[in-house]
Assembly symmetry: C2
Homo-oligomer: 348 residues x 2
C-alpha cells in the first residue's frame, strides 16, 4: 500500500503531528487493553505523536501516556444503540466527547463497530449537510499500489439513493487524501455492468451518480457499475453501496481469503517434501501476506462525522494501533473533515 | 463433494435414466456451441442419458444427438426480459418449451442467466404456490463434504420476507435431494449473528424463519443469522438471501478465490527455486483446485419452476455440461419438482 504522506505530498499539507492527543479507546477490541496500550505507547514513541488512552486506569495499568478516565466498557456483543445511550461513562463515549470538546484531535477504537459509529455520531455530530456518516474500509488488492475504498461497510443497513451519492463524494476525498489517488474512479456495486442492472436502490442511484456535476466538482470520475468479483481487481478506486451489502461483501471477501489461505497452508503441511517446498516459497508469499494483513491498513474511517474517527478491526494488534494513530494524525493534518465538508455540498 | 446418488440412496429413488431427453441449450455459454455439444455427446455416451441439443442445426454441425431446431440466440449481453419476449425461436425459449410440452425431461443452459430464468418462468411456469423461483447455487467449501446451498443467487434483486421463507423451504429440499443432507441447517445471511441485526428485510424475515412450523414440516432446522465470512465454513447447509445480496456475495467469493489463487501461483513463479517447490506442492494442491472447480458442481438449479432447469456458469466446459446433465437426470428421477411442490405449501 502506498504511504499516504509520500504518494501525493504536493496536494496535501505535510503530516505534522497534531497538537492535541489522539484519543485511543484502550478498552475496545479482542486484545484490549494490553495490545491497545502497547500500540498507543509505540505510536507515541516511534512516530512522535501525542497519544492519550481512554479507559479504566486500573485496567490500563502503568503507562507513560495521559489517561482520560472512563469507568464503563461497551462490549463487542453489546447492542450498539443501547450501549451508547446507557454507558455514558464508557471509553467509546468518552473518546468521542474528548474530540467534541477539543481535548483530542481524533479518536481510534478497535471496539464494537456499531457503538463506535453511534458514539461518534451522537457526540461529535454530523458534518453539516451529511445525511448519514458511512464506514469507508480500504480493501488491499494483491498487485495494486492502492487499496479499494469500499463504503458503506456496515453503518447504514438500509440506505437511500441520495446517501450513496454522498458516499461517493466522501469516498472520493478519502481516496485522494489517504491514498494519493488524484482523480478517483468511483463505481456502484451492482449485479451487472449495464446501468439498468440491480435492485430498486441501484436503479435509483445510478442516474444520480452518472450525472457529471458532482464528479466534476469533487474531481472524481463515475465508472458505472461493478460486480462483487471486481472488488479486488484494479480499475476503480472507490465503490459505493448500502451498509448491508457492503458488510456482506467485505466479510465474504475476508472469509474467502482466510479459508483459501488456510487450505493452501494445509497443503504445505502434507508431508516432509511439501513442508520443505513450503519453506522455499515462504519468502515469495510473505509480501502477499503482508499486503493482505489488515493490521497494515490502519483501519476503516468513519466519514461524515465532525471529527476524525478511525475504526480498527476487532482483532487489532499493537501494530494495527500504531498504523491507526499514524492515519489519524495524517487525517487531522490534511484536514480530512474540512475536505469532506466541502465535498458534500448539495449539487446545485 | 458428495455424489448425490451415493450419499443418501435410501431416501430417494435411484437415478434411473429419464425416458425423455435432457434438452441442452447448444447456443448458450462463452464456449458455445463446440464445448456444449461435446459435453452433451459425452453425457449421452458416458452416462447413458438421453440428451437432445437445442439450437441452430447449421451451427451445431454433425452430431449423433437429436436436435430441436431454434434459429435465434439470446446473447450473454442481451437484456433478459427483451430477449425472452422477442426471440421466440431462441434456443433458450425452445428448450423451456420442450420441457413444458413433454418432449424433454429437463433443460440445461450455460447461457444468459437472467434469460434462462425468464424463459423457464414464462414457458414452464411456476409451481403452484411459489411466489418467485430462485437460483440455488452450490458453493464448494474446502474441507467440507457438502457444498453450501446459497439462494437466491441473483434472480430476484428485490425480495420480500415471505419469499425468503420459501427460498428456505426450497433450499431444504435441494440440499437433501442433491447432497444427501438429511436435516439441513438453514440460515439467514445478515450482518451480525443476533436476531435483530440486519436491514428491514432481514428483520422482517428472521421471525418468519425462526417459527419452527415450516422447519418441522420440511425437516429442516433454522440456525439463525450467518455473516459473509461464514459462507465457506461448515456449520450450515442452506443460506437464504435476496438475489441482489446473494449475487454480490457469490461473486465476491469467486473474485477473492480467483485473485488469491492467481497471487499464490504468481509467487510460485518467482524463480527456479520457487518453481521447483511449486511442482512439489502441486499434487497436494490439486484436490483443493478440484474441489473449487465450478465445472465439477454441475451448476446452479432454478427452484420453483414447474420443471428441472439447470443453470451452468457461462464459462462451462464439456465436463461442466456432462455434470449438469447428470444432475438434471438425478433431479428428474428423484422428482425434485414434486418435492419442492410439497415443501412450499403455505404454513397453516
Amino acid at each position: 500500500m502506498t504511504d499516504a504522506t509520500d504518494a501525493d505530498a504536493a496536494d496535501r499539507p505535510a503530516a505534522t503531528p497534531p497538537d492535541l492527543p489522539i484519543a485511543v479507546d484502550a478498552m475496545g477490541g479482542d486484545r484490549a487493553p494490553a495490545e491497545i496500550v502497547a500500540g498507543a505507547e509505540r505510536a507515541a514513541a516511534e512516530l512522535g505523536l501525542p497519544v492519550a488512552l481512554v479507559g479504566d486506569p486500573d485496567r490500563i495499568g502503568a503507562t507513560s501516556l495521559e489517561v482520560f478516565p472512563a469507568s464503563e466498557v461497551i462490549g463487542m456483543d453489546d447492542d450498539p444503540g443501547q450501549g451508547v445511550r446507557r454507558k455514558k461513562d464508557s471509553s467509546l463515549v468518552r473518546a468521542a466527547e474528548a474530540v467534541r470538546d477539543g481535548r483530542a484531535s481524533a479518536m481510534v477504537s478497535a471496539g464494537n463497530t456499531g457503538a463506535t459509529w453511534g458514539a461518534a455520531l451522537l457526540r461529535m455530530g454530523r458534518i453539516k449537510g451529511v445525511a448519514r456518516p458511512a464506514i469507508a474500509t480500504p480493501l488491499p488488492r494483491p498487485g495494486c499500489d492502492t487499496p479499494l475504498v469500499l463504503l458503506d461497510a456496515g453503518a447504514n443497513a438500509d440506505a437511500q439513493a441520495e446517501w450513496l451519492l454522498q458516499f461517493a463524494q466522501m469516498g472520493t476525498v478519502f481516496a485522494r487524501q489517504r491514498f494519493g489517488v488524484d482523480r478517483p474512479r468511483v463505481a456502484l456495486l451492482s449485479i451487472g455492468e449495464e446501468p439498468g442492472k440491480g435492485d430498486a436502490l441501484r436503479k435509483e442511484a445510478h442516474p444520480l451518480l452518472a450525472d457529471p456535476g458532482w464528479a466534476d466538482r469533487v474531481g472524481a470520475e463515475f465508472a458505472g457499475n461493478v460486480e462483487g468479483r471486481d472488488l479486488l481487481q484494479p480499475g476503480v478506486d472507490v465503490v459505493v453501496t448500502d451498509g448491508f451489502t457492503g458488510n456482506v461483501a467485505l466479510k465474504s471477501l475476508e472469509g474467502a481469503m482466510r479459508t483459501l489461505i488456510g487450505a493452501v497452508l494445509g497443503a504445505f503441511d502434507t508431508d516432509d517434501d511439501t513442508r520443505a517446498a513450503g519453506e522455499v516459497l515462504m519468502p515469495a508469499l510473505l509480501p502477499l501476506y503482508g499486503q493482505l494483513d489488515p493490521d497494515a491498513t490502519g483501519g476503516a474511517m468513519l466519514l461524515g462525522v465532525d471529527g476524525v474517527c478511525i475504526i480498527s478491526h476487532g482483532s487489532s494488534s499493537a501494530t494495527a494501533i500504531v498504523n491507526a494513530c499514524r492515519v489519524a494524525a495524517e487525517s487531522v493534518a490534511s484536514d480530512l473533515v474540512g475536505a469532506v465538508t466541502r465535498a458534500v455540498r448539495p449539487e446545485s
